[in-house]
């Protein structure tokens, strides 16, 4: 084994230029794959972040709305029914709408997701600074990191919201009482208001005397392991509702699945190109070395040693390329502003890097098999 590593290392070291070139190609492929992965993750997060981080297990939609948050309507009475179902710990109404934030310095208006939540109920995000929302009424809001990054707001600051009602623009000044982590919804940073305040402010809300209607309800279960059973029970006991777990809910967001599958395809093809490039390089190298390998086998090197030498080289060069590419990508993405939808999480990066480390062995397997098949007699021109 030491012989294989000795030969592998010597050949790579003494042909640095050639091997650096293929390592550079692997590095560029790594950058590309990681960027696509980060973009997929960034776009997915931008879409689903709020739903993913919900402090509940199930989302309740109006029946026959195909899990569309904008089409679904859940009224107060329905929520009361949900609360009576055995096994339900808590239910919170959540309403989605959009609005614009007016920066205090007079810059461009910012599109935000304006989300109504019930204080103390599932759906309200946990704050990392300041306080939770105290009452269902009142002009207090929680803002997420997307808003903080764009406006630089702090607890106690006033923010100005613009809503277009009919053709009229209305402005609302709200006090920031709490800050939460990134909770984007549908590519927009989020502002969370008490549900009644939300209903009064949102563009098409606030019908006087009517029932308080939200888009969905979020359920926290007494036993979070009983998701499937509870889903069936709720649908059986409460009329006209459809219940989904969080993953099903975000996958039903408009365009989410199509976007992710497009990016996955791109990622796969980049990966596949990588396998072909590395495979091609090592195959050409093998063809150039037929006589040399024949000589090595003739003087007593086993097939195992010859194969391991080639494999070790492939691993060294591939790992080097992946390491350089990954380090470069990490350095680049670390400095991206929060507004760019590129998110390289540890899990995404690790999965991509592990897949990229397989490029070499996958691409090189043909050349290693070719090496093993070299007959010393033929390679040395001694065959009859």
């Amino acid at each position: 084994m030491s012989m294989a590593f000795y030969l592998a290392f010597k050949e790579v070291w003494r042909n640095k230029g050639r091997f650096a070139l293929i390592a550079a190609v692997v590095a560029l492929i790594t950058v590309l794959v990681l960027f696509i992965a980060a973009l997929a993750e960034g776009l997915a997060s931008a879409n689903r972040e709020y739903i993913e981080k919900l402090n509940g297990e199930l989302l309740v939609f109006q029946a026959n709305t195909q899990l569309s948050t904008s089409a679904s309507r859940i009224g107060r009475s329905r929520v009361a029914e949900l609360r009576r179902v055995e096994g339900v710990e808590a239910v919170g109404q959540v309403g989605f709408s959009t609005a614009k934030l007016i920066p205090p310095d007079g810059g461009d208006e910012i599109n935000i997701a304006f989300i109504g939540v019930e204080p103390g109920m599932p759906g309200e995000p946990e704050v990392f600074a300041g306080q939770q929302l105290a009452r269902s009424r009142g002009n207090n809001v929680i803002v997420d990191e997307g808003v903080i990054a764009r406006l630089g707001v702090q607890v106690g600051d006033l923010i100005r919201l613009k809503v277009t009602r009919g053709t009229r623009e209305e402005f609302y000044d709200l006090t920031v009482v709490g800050l939460t982590d990134r909770r984007q919804y549908f590519f927009q940073p989020a502002v969370f208001a008490p549900i009644v305040t939300w209903d009064n402010i949102r563009a098409d809300g606030g019908q006087p005397g009517g029932e308080l209607v939200s888009n969905i309800a979020v359920i926290k279960l007494r036993n979070p392991d009983e998701i499937e059973r509870m889903k069936r029970r709720i649908e059986a006991e409460v009329k006209d509702v459809e219940v989904a777990d969080k993953k099903t809910a975000w996958e039903a967001l408009p365009g989410y699945t199509a976007q992710q599958s497009t990016l996955s395809t791109q990622q796969f093809f980049t990966f596949f190109i990588g396998v072909l490039v590395v495979g091609g390089f090592f195959q050409i190298q093998t063809l150039q070395k037929v006589a040399q390998i024949g000589m090595l086998k003739a003087i007593g090197l086993s097939n195992w040693t010859v194969g391991l030498t080639a494999f070790a080289q492939i691993i060294i060069v591939n790992a080097l390329g992946v390491a350089v590419g990954a380090a470069g990508t990490l350095a680049l993405t670390a400095n991206f502003p929060v507004t760019v939808p590129i998110v390289l999480t540890g899990a995404t990066a690790l999965a991509a890097v592990l897949a990229l480390l397989a490029i070499g062995p996958l691409g090189g397997v043909v050349s290693v098999v070719a090496l093993l098949r070299i007959e010393p007699l033929r390679a040395l021109g001694m065959a009859q």
Partner: protein, 272 residues
């Protein structure tokens, strides 16, 4: 002491109507400290014979003993390991590992046999110095001339103290002067280190450095020359001491004289 012994070795390529007998019941033996040339025209079976003696090709029939073991009966893996331990090689070309220096190429066989200690390194260095490559120890093959490369190959063939040293046309890519230098040094080292050496060559001028010449024609041993003067005459060295006999080269292709196959057994230098 016998270094190598082949008994009734036959090699048949193909089968049925297309079968070709490349080597037909050849027996030969080489003592330790003896250097033998295997000559003959193209297609005479000398390269096939060498390949079998080297354990690169399994005989169709017969036995080949090196260090007391019948290499024809070994598995592929066993033969590979055996080659690394008991056989030294110098080929016609593609002799050296291009990314290793001259010294590292020689040390490769010590490394393969687990003998690369301080003493081994010193021996490798001394052998290269002895071969006139003291200034070229750390040069890679592409920085060496053809003759220098061939001398490194010779050092590598001998460094691990093999039982048998084999050379296939070691002078094919060299000019006359370098060819003489290389084979002369090869012969000296084989004698000094007490190895059994066999060289396949088509250049009869190189026979002046060997102790015995075995001529093959059509897969048989046609003639064996042990008489010193006769060897020198074959090498074209008796009348013109500086060698360079053009006739000798041509002669190699036209040797047709046949003798009984086992004639060498009766010769005084024969060992079996």
């Amino acid at each position: 002491m016998i270094g190598l012994e082949a008994i009734n070795v036959t090699k048949i390529y193909g089968a049925g109507a297309t079968a070709v007998t490349a080597v037909n019941a050849v027996s030969l033996g080489v003592r330790r400290g003896e250097f033998v040339a295997l000559v003959g025209p193209s297609g005479s079976g000398k390269t096939t014979m060498l390949a079998m003696l080297a354990g690169l090709l399994r005989p169709s029939a017969g036995q080949i003993f090196i260090a007391g073991q019948d290499i024809g009966r070994m598995s592929e893996t066993q033969r590979t390991r055996f080659r690394g331990r008991y056989i030294g090689f110098a080929f016609q070309s593609n002799n050296l590992v291009p990314y290793l220096t001259a010294l590292e190429n020689v040390e490769l066989l010590l490394r393969l046999n687990g003998k690369l200690d301080r003493k081994g390194r010193e021996r490798a260095r001394e052998l290269l110095v002895r071969l006139g490559l003291g200034e070229r120890l750390h040069n890679r093959p592409n920085q060496l001339s053809g003759g220098q490369q061939q001398r490194v190959a010779i050092a590598r063939a001998l460094i691990h103290e093999p039982e048998v040293v084999l050379a296939d046309e070691p002078t094919a890519s060299l000019d006359t002067e370098r060819a003489h230098q290389v084979v002369q040094t090869f012969a000296e080292l084989i004698h000094e280190q007490n190895r059994a050496g066999i060289m396949v060559t088509h250049d009869l001028r190189m026979c002046r450095y060997v102790d015995r010449v075995i001529q093959m024609v059509d897969g048989h041993v046609s003639r064996e020359i042990v008489e010193r003067n006769e060897i020198l005459r074959l090498a074209g060295a008796l009348d013109s001491p500086d060698g360079g006999s053009e006739v000798a080269l041509v002669h190699a292709e036209t040797i047709g004289e046949r003798r009984p196959r086992d004639d060498w057994r009766r010769s005084p230098a024969a060992v079996v």
